[in-house]
């Protein structure tokens, strides 16, 4: 490249190998050699009959590279692994190897790259209502957690340890922790997985269900976990909560039958990427965005939720909502109100029990473009109560009521380039004292009038292609 200014932007590769780089080459080779030797020298420590009485004693005796095998049994202790890189593995049926404490976490992993696998972990409740406990607490470091069952209640073998008043998280990552939790079951805790305080672990292919609050909660600026291919269901609260400036990537998850929202995204500075998830059969909205959050929500499938598929509210909430499929909901497909100004583009919205896309309230000025809205039980697109969106190039057809309805004082949307066809009612209906601009639309084949304008409405109507 010839441009020196851009060069200043990026780290530069060396043209010749610097002496210090040759040292690094030696360090890498020596490290590989040591790792080979360590593999040969690594020991296996047993916990249970014939071995250490507790996991904590084995951890104390273990050196880097050692493996601790935990035999079936119930270990009532609070294990702390700090700094060391070891593997702790259940040796037998996972459900028969239970580690728990009725006070504090069963495991606390501090600044470690250790591996934890094949165990049932429980407990972690604190006696105080003010404090949130954790069955498995990760502070810093990058541990690998897999094949675990983290259950606070609901698993029959844990009855003796079930707390009635405590509040507990199944797994909590904090203090900039990285690492991963995967292929684990997190069941019946107050909160399933909590990631905060700049932690950025990978959360992949877990089943998280039956929680009393939300299943997975991600908060704080700098918190950037990758949350992929998890199954999150049957909780009393929301499936995913993202708030307070967090920026996770949430993709290819299934969230269903949760009591709160499927995915809840709140607060200014919260800008996750939410894509290719399936959100369905929830008791409230599929995806909620509010309080100034600005995520990118794309290519999700959202269906059969008891309230709106997507709800976007509040000033400063300016997400990009693109190429989602929203259908068979019991209320509105996409609801935008209270000053939110998202970009809603290229979504498929069909067969919802209320309006397809509904935009309400003054100051709510989204761009609604290139969507396909059809076969809804009410209006295709509704603009009311002073909202002034740009509604462009959408295809709206076969809805039970007017394809596009504009209503209410102060509403001055621009409706242009849309195709509104084959509806069971009017094509475009302007009522009350609304004053939209309607131009360049194709309105055809609707059962009643192509365009009906109420007596007190003052639309500006340009050239449209109209046929009955």
């Amino acid at each position: 490249m010839t441009d020196t200014g851009s060069k200043a932007l990026v780290p530069q590769g060396p043209t010749t190998v610097a002496p210090v780089s040759r040292l690094a080459e030696r360090t890498l080779a020596e490290r590989a050699e040591r790792e080979k030797e360590a593999l040969v020298a690594a020991r296996t420590l047993l916990v249970g009959p014939g071995g250490y009485a507790t996991i904590s004693l084995a951890v104390e005796a273990a050196r880097d590279g050692d493996t601790i095998l935990v035999r079936p049994g119930r270990y009532e202790e609070s294990v702390v692994v700090e700094g060391k890189t070891i593997t702790i593995r259940g040796d037998g049926e996972r459900d028969a190897i239970v580690v728990g404490s009725d006070r504090g976490p069963a495991f606390t992993l501090v600044d470690t790259r250790s591996t934890l696998t094949g165990l049932t972990i429980t407990g972690g409740e604190f006696s105080s209502w003010l404090e949130l406990g954790a069955a498995l607490l990760v502070t810093g470091g990058s541990p690998q957690l897999s094949g675990l069952l983290v259950a606070h209640s609901g698993a029959p073998q844990l009855d003796g340890m079930r707390a009635t008043n405590g509040r507990s998280v199944g797994v909590r990552f904090e203090g900039g922790a990285a690492g991963a939790i995967e292929h684990s079951q997190i069941d019946g805790n107050d909160l399933g997985i909590s990631v905060l305080d700049g932690a950025s672990p990978r959360i992949e292919e877990n089943e998280v269900w039956g929680h009393r609050w939300s299943a997975i909660e991600i908060s704080d600026a700098g918190t950037k976990p990758l949350v992929r291919a998890n199954r999150v269901h049957d909780g009393k609260g929301s499936g995913f909560v993202v708030r307070a400036g967090a920026s996770p990537r949430i993709e290819n998850n299934d969230a269903w039958a949760n009591g709160g929202y499927g995915i809840e995204i709140r607060d200014a500075g919260t800008d996750p990427l939410v894509r290719v998830n399936r959100v369905h059969h929830g008791e409230m909205f599929g995806i909620l965005m509010g309080d100034g959050a600005s995520p990118r929500v794309e290519e999700n499938e959202i269906w059969a939720n008891a309230m709106s598929g997507i709800e976007i509210s509040d000033a400063g909430t300016d997400p990009l909502v693109r190429a989602n499929r929203i259908h068979h909901g019991e209320e509105t497909g996409i609801l935008v109100y209270a000053g939110a100004s998202p970009r809603i583009e290229e979504n498929d919205v069909w067969a919802n029990a209320h309006t397809g896309i509904s935009i309400q309230a003054a100051g709510t000025d989204p761009l609604v473009r290139g969507n396909r809205v059809h076969h809804g039980a009410m209006f295709g697109i509704l603009v009311c109560d002073g909202a002034s969106p740009r509604v462009e190039e959408n295809e709206v057809w076969a809805n039970a009521e007017a394809g596009i309805w504009i209503s209410g004082a102060g509403a001055s949307p621009v409706i242009s380039g849309n195709t509104v066809r084959d509806g069971l009612d009017d094509g475009i209906l302007v009522s009350d004292v609304a004053s939209p601009t309607i131009a360049g639309n194709t309105i055809t084949g609707n059962a009643r009038e192509a365009m009906r304008v109420g007596k007190s409405a003052t639309p500006m109507i340009g050239p449209n292609v109209v046929s009955s």
Binding site: G5, V10, P11, G13, V20, S21, L23, A24, G140, A439
Partner: protein, 271 residues
């Protein structure tokens, strides 16, 4: 009430809007990539300084000892193989002394403040905003590109120094600057947008090539394998340092034994 009708956009205008949207998306992606690169570059520089401070003296000491051991053995054994080994060890010692020199050349402060100090999210956001506004690859003529290049360098320096005020000054300066638009018809705008898109795409390829070049540096490979732990506050180099110190201790012991045996056997003592 005035009745202004918005007619359907012409195909050119629609195409322009599409291209502008594409440019905006590409610019967002490029800015994110640039931020990632700037962060990586700044973290790598700190890592390099720390590695040099800790390891260059250790390797220099180890290789000096090994060279001295080989020299003494060659004097005693006096075989061609022993001499060759001594020469090799001496060359190795010379080379690792050079790595030590690298550190001195980097200045007395190199090595200070080596822990990664991840930029505050606000600072990062400001950097992103500013980079997006002044990126040289979004300039449409040579003079503007030169101006932006200078600004970009100042921005990077400010970001590296964690100086939010300086970034703010750059942002303020840009927002008060009248946009220099030459030709405002759709054709001219379309041409500009298409050129900008090509420039942004070109910059993506440059970044890719730079990334590949970096990965050919063993020190960068070491950095990448250590980065997550290092930024999590762990010391991923601790094992390497401990092992080197053990080898230095062992070399000291072997050299001492050689000196001792030479002293005990005056007939073998080198003249």
């Amino acid at each position: 009430m005035s009745m202004t009708i918005q007619p359907r956009p012409t195909p050119e205008a629609a195409h322009l809007a599409e291209q502008e949207r594409l440019l905006e998306e590409l610019t967002d992606e490029l800015t994110a990539k640039e931020v990632e690169f700037a962060e990586t570059g700044s973290a790598f520089a700190r890592f390099r300084a720390e590695y040099q401070r800790r390891f260059a003296p250790l390797y220099a000491e180890l290789d000096r000892l090994e060279a001295e051991i080989a020299r003494r053995r060659a004097e005693v054994a006096a075989t061609p193989a022993a001499h060759a080994k001594a020469a090799e060890a001496a060359a190795q010692a010379d080379e690792s002394r050079k790595a030590l020199g690298d550190g001195l050349a980097a200045g007395p402060d190199a090595g200070d403040e080596t822990r990664p100090a991840p930029a505050a999210p606000e600072l990062k956001a400001m950097y992103r905003d500013a980079a997006k506004r002044i990126h040289p690859d979004l300039a449409t003529d040579a003079a503007e590109k030169a101006r932006r290049t200078t600004l970009m360098a100042a921005l990077n320096a400010a970001y590296d120094a964690g100086d939010a005020d300086a970034i703010q000054r750059i942002l303020d300066g840009e927002s008060s600057r009248p946009e220099a638009i030459i030709g405002d018809d759709i054709g001219a705008r379309l041409l500009r947008v298409i050129r900008k898109i090509a420039q942004v795409r070109g910059r993506f390829s440059e970044l890719l090539a730079l990334g590949a070049a970096l990965r050919s540096d063993p020190l960068f490979v070491l950095f990448e394998t250590s980065r997550a732990d290092w930024e999590a506050g762990l010391d991923p180099l601790a094992g390497d340092e401990e092992s080197l110190r053990e080898r230095i201790a062992s070399a000291h012991a072997r050299l001492a034994a050689l000196i001792m045996s030479a002293a005990k056997d005056p007939t073998r003592r080198p003249t």
